[in-house]
């Protein structure tokens, strides 16, 4: 099952990134520990270390959450504070797991883990049902456009494996999710992370459930690409000028393709200058590529000598992004020390660009429980989500986040503290 047992076919594996979500103590870390343990992706020395610390903490069973709760304060408090990344593989898929904290105080770390995920496992404690933090995390998963969601109704052992409890939570969640436009593929699994029911092995306590185990689902769920292969976007990171005899006239533009497909011979346009040229060659070191697409990192050369620098973007003339100085975005607010009411000055980072910006307006905040707009309190504070308007000092080359996760996302940086105070999804 684990990466260890499989070697052939390694160069042909698909990658699925997933994240955990849900309220504090719902069993996220235990679930990941169980998943790794039952699929034999744990090394003996790791297990010994966890057994030893479980014992010295006086835990009854081996505390599998300790496999991901690696910081001293996390172990002391028995909670997750920051994202832990874990890795495992089965013959067909390689997985990157982000185990995130449920505590509301650390929502920004949850968003960090979820921002790169293709799938989210939202845990619900069977005894508690759908609560505010479940809604908040589902809302964030929706905002980040995570395509696949698994709702794991955990701790079924504490409710006598009762189907009625499960069914009630399923309908509670469905009624909430029906108001979230992007949460389409939702799978519900009743489980006990503590005892291992329906994680890797099918539960013997819940004969009424005929669906997949969590691992089976993760291995087989359709993993549509999150990359855009339609709208060509190449943000320039770095200009390569070797100044060597052999490559005297070489002038390459390095970057990671953010969208579409590029081929030598393609006509391209440079933003913001508007100059046009053709792609001469595409390189990845000594390899010359016939085509390149997202998310490949490459170097391109052009037929003509044009002034291009970091922060510029190569696109196709018939399908450019929007060049905007007025941007509308949904933001998650991360700062505990700085809030936003009305106007504020920030640095906006978008792909490889940094620009000065003024938030001109907070349009509304979202009430996480009702999903209603709050329009009478427009101060964005820690963990708030809302819609803002931004005016930038120079145009950015943007798409909507729904069209392209890379060219549709921004972060806001406080110029005084240098902290990342918000993440934004362009509308």
């Amino acid at each position: 099952m684990s990466e260890k047992e499989n070697n052939s076919g390694y160069l042909d594996m698909d990658l699925l990134r997933f994240t955990t979500a849900g309220s504090v103590d719902d069993g996220k870390s235990t679930l990941i520990g169980r998943l790794l343990y039952d699929s034999k992706a744990i090394f003996e020395d790791q297990l010994e270390a966890v057994e030893k610390s479980s014992k010295s903490r006086g835990d009854e069973n081996v505390n599998l959450a300790l496999l991901t709760d690696g910081l001293r304060s996390e172990r002391e408090q028995g909670i997750t504070i920051d994202v832990a990344y874990r890795y495992f593989a089965t013959p067909k898929r390689k997985f990157i797991i982000a185990d995130t904290p449920g505590h509301i105080q650390y929502t920004r770390n949850m968003v960090t883990g979820a921002s790169t995920a293709n799938l989210a496992i939202i845990l619900v404690d069977a005894r508690k049902g759908v609560i505010e933090q479940t809604c908040r995390h589902a809302f964030i998963a929706n905002l980040l456009r995570i395509q696949n969601v698994v709702v794991c109704v955990n701790k079924m052992d504490l409710v006598d494996w009762d189907q009625a409890v499960f069914d009630k939570i399923v309908s509670e969640f469905k009624s909430f999710a029906s108001r979230l436009d992007n949460l389409i593929n939702i799978t519900f699994i009743p489980a006990s992370a503590l005892l291992g029911d329906n994680i890797v092995d099918k539960s013997e306590n819940m004969g009424w459930y005929n669906g997949p185990t969590l691992l089976y689902h993760l291995e087989t769920v359709y993993n549509g690409s999150d990359f855009n292969h339609i709208d060509a976007r190449f943000p320039i990171q770095w200009v390569v000028r070797p100044h060597s005899d052999k490559y005297h006239d070489f002038r390459g533009f390095a970057g990671r393709i953010a969208g579409g497909v590029f081929k030598p011979g393609d006509a391209v346009k440079v933003l913001p200058s508007g100059f046009e040229s053709k792609i001469k060659s595409i390189h990845l070191m000594d390899e010359e590529l016939k085509e390149a697409y997202s998310p490949m990192s490459v170097v391109m050369t052009l037929e003509d000598e044009i002034d291009i620098s970091r922060g510029n973007m190569l696109v196709k003339a018939n399908n450019p992004p929007k060049m905007l100085q007025d941007i509308e975005a949904m933001v998650c607010w991360f700062s505990s020390t700085k809030s936003l009411s009305g106007r504020g000055k920030f640095i906006v980072r978008h792909t490889t660009n940094d620009v000065q910006a003024i938030v001109s307006e907070v349009k509304y905040k979202v009430n996480i429980n009702t999903l209603h707009k709050i329009e009478d309190d427009l101060e964005l504070k820690l963990n708030d989500i809302g819609r803002i308007s931004i005016r930038t000092s120079a145009p950015l080359f943007v798409d909507s986040y729904s069209k392209n996760r890379i060219t549709g996302s921004i972060i806001l940086i406080d110029p005084l503290t240098n902290e990342t105070v918000a993440a934004g999804m362009i509308i």
Binding site: D45, T112, M296, T420
Partner: protein, 300 residues
Amino acid sequence: MDYRITHLKQLESEAIFVLRETAAQFEKPVLLFSGGKDSIVMAYLAKKAFWPAKLPFPLMHVDTGHNFPETMEYRDRFVKDLGAELIVASVQEAIDQGKVVEETGVNASRNSLQTVALLEGLENGQFDAALGGGRRDEEKARAKERFFSHRDAFGQWDPKNQRPELWNVFNGKKHHGEHFRVFPLSNWTEMDIWQYIKLENIALPELYFSHERECFVRNGVIMAVTEFTQPQPEETVEKMQVRFRTIGDTTCTGANVSSASDLDAIIDEVAAARNTERGTRADDKRSESAMEDRKKQGYF
């Protein structure tokens, strides 16, 4: 058309992206090069990132003075082939200058002294970003680290208060005197590293392949007999067929009995391994949060 790249190519592309962001966002980055497989892969990826130009930053070796001679030979050849500049931050110098005091006793290690030499090396060169080959799968505290990891003016890591890191939009902004550690290989596993070495045909130090050498066993760890690791009277020396899974300072790097003499055999061995690669690292065994504590103080 199905435009997909394999997971290994995704990791390569991500690492190259991070290396270029580091070159672009910082004034004076440096790549920490230990001569171990991870830093070799990182330096190789840096070559890919900036080809056909040379690396836009130097390499720095934090040298405990307790090296395997094979590592040093490899290092010098590798750096020459790369056409890069090498800076050596010496622990021995720090000791000679009285900046640190060496541990004594049989299990003395210079591992913890590396932090001092590293921080001094960074300060002397006025480097504002240090690229490290650390991987999140290595250790539980490492599993928590960001790609761009902020350090205060004392080089310390504050794991409870890390900057959020969204998508791949990295914020390398900092105040004067602060610096960043950057980990391009964050998402790679040990298996990924070996598969990539094979895919790209990257040459490695001989120590990684099975060879015969004189060893002794201490605290369950197989130690090579070297200038710096000598057996105690009650410890017996034996000729063993071994290889190293990680290469660090001789005093804290254990060997594994192995007949794996080429990459395919090593990959099979890694696939069947039942212990983590750091399982033979004495420096991690000192306490439950040994790594976190060292990282807080400024360790790699």
